[in-house]
Symmetry: C2
Subunit: 299 residues, 2 copies
């Protein structure tokens, strides 16, 4: 079975205390779809400008992405520039150029509308809803979001939530969404907004899944060095949905394993700038870290 991924397809210029990397391939859909490609065929929905480098299209192709839903529009590709602090835990946005995604309102290729797994990677919630409107009875719908949408598109996000099977967000966003500092106390309030499953990402501290069977506390794969965490959350949810889409049986039963797969691929994402590391993985790399992670939580 396969997976629809909608989100941003972007160019990222990333500064860290140690390096500067202009115009890397980035965006939530790029990270999520490449991560998912290790498990299933991602069908990409996004928009790039006429400045989008050929080599990045080739990268998508190398990962077997279906690009029928990737529109090339006149104008600039969405461009984000940001800077990380020394410990990589805080970043600040230096500049954002929306470019062609500002007025992007995709009409899905007909074959896409029947895909069973839908990943609404981080992008404006109105656009996430617009894509979901076109889907016919998907099996499992997950959306990721970010603080920006909580600040400027809260009502659009609240309209989307009841239509999701699972919402993914980080701990500070969870707190902000329901105005509750304690993440564990925030979870039932988020469920009341709609999603049956909620996954709270906590970066190096792993993640927490909340659902009808209670909580699942998942570790992050421990890293000795974080080079660039940009896209780690997108890779996490991409790996997660890729794994779900590759499994038989109900998504509910595969969700815990899928989260660990997501953690593993997110760990690789952090070890290189942009998609550098995620681009060049082997299945053996993923299964090795999954085995290691499994050993690290057993007792």
């Amino acid at each position: 079975m396969s997976l629809l991924v909608v989100g941003t397809t972007a160019l990222d210029s990333i500064k860290t205390p140690r390096a500067e990397n202009p115009r890397l391939l980035g965006g939530s859909a790029s990270h999520a779809a490449v991560a998912a490609s290790y498990f299933t065929t991602p069908h990409l929905v996004g928009a790039v400008g006429d400045d989008f480098p050929r080599k990045y299209i080739n990268l998508y192709r190398r990962h077997g992405l279906d690009l029928a839903g990737l529109e090339r529009l006149a104008g600039q590709t969405f461009h984000w520039s940001g800077e990380y602090e020394l410990n990589m835990n805080r970043r600040r946005t230096l500049d954002t150029v929306l470019g062609v995604i500002e007025n992007f309102s995709p009409t899905l290729p007909p074959a896409y509308t029947r895909l069973p797994y839908v990943l609404l990677a981080n992008i404006a919630p109105d656009l996430q809803s617009h894509v979901l409107d076109q889907m016919r009875r998907p099996k499992f719908v997950v959306a990721d979001t970010m603080d920006l949408w909580l600040n400027i598109a809260r009502s659009a996000l609240l309209k989307l939530l009841p239509r999701l099977d699972c919402l993914v967000l980080n701990d500070t966003e969870a707190a902000q969404l329901v105005e509750e500092e304690n993440v564990i106390a925030a979870l039932p309030r988020i469920h009341r907004l709609g999603p049956k499953y909620v996954i709270v990402k906590k970066g190096e501290h792993g993640s927490i899944l909340s659902g009808p069977k209670g909580l699942f506390i998942a570790p992050a794969y421990p890293l000795v060095k974080v080079v660039d965490p940009t896209g780690a959350g997108d890779s996490f949810v991409g790996g997660l949905m890729g794994h779900l889409a590759s499994q038989t049986g109900s998504p509910e039963n595969n969700l815990r394993a899928a989260i660990l797969q997501g953690s593993v691929i997110a760990s690789y994402c952090c070890e290189g700038f942009g998609l550098k590391k995620t681009d060049r993985l082997k299945t053996a790399d993923l299964s090795r870290r999954l085995r290691e992670l499994t050993r690290m939580v057993k007792w």
Copy 2:
């Protein structure tokens, strides 16, 4: 088998945004020994002043603590006052009166020197060493510490480390000890200072054990409400050592389970001021949360 616990026996005055609690029973040894008492007989080493309330001695007795090593000295009991911020993640010390522990230099009751499990709960590293000097071939020695000793007694702490089986400290202390922000990268450096096992406490994010068999990533029991985290770290290490001391077989094989026991009892500690909650537990409370925690990490 049983357990020696040395550390502070204190009076704590704790302010939070919601309440003020003067002169609660506190101190690292109080929290650790009461936590350990659910598993084994803790033999306490500490000093209290002539102002130490009778009711707190009764509390120790109720938990079956051996008080032969608890000295009552002329002067004030060690008194700490502190204040927590709204989210309970940061605290600041308002006042510290060392009182009778300033010149405390215990001579252990002879029976204590043969105890197999030794918990050097948080107190000056010179005093931890002085106690350890008197022990004959203990089976497993664990020390807890805090940033204060890293700042004012670093060389004493460095002298203690090679004599430990296991060092317990929190993530910021681990970073400070070896000047490495990344906790995972800090671990091998801490091992090189002596201890075969290192446990890094991360509060609500659980803990990480590092040892010859690699890493163990342990969850914290998720709490909807934290009333007062004072003593949670001491309860954690007390529960851990209490469990170890109650088991047959090598401590190495029981360490992962012991960490989860420590997490569970630390979670209760956080739910009441001082020892309020930890004082009144039933074995069934502990086994229930341990079962829940086990379910929360399975996949």
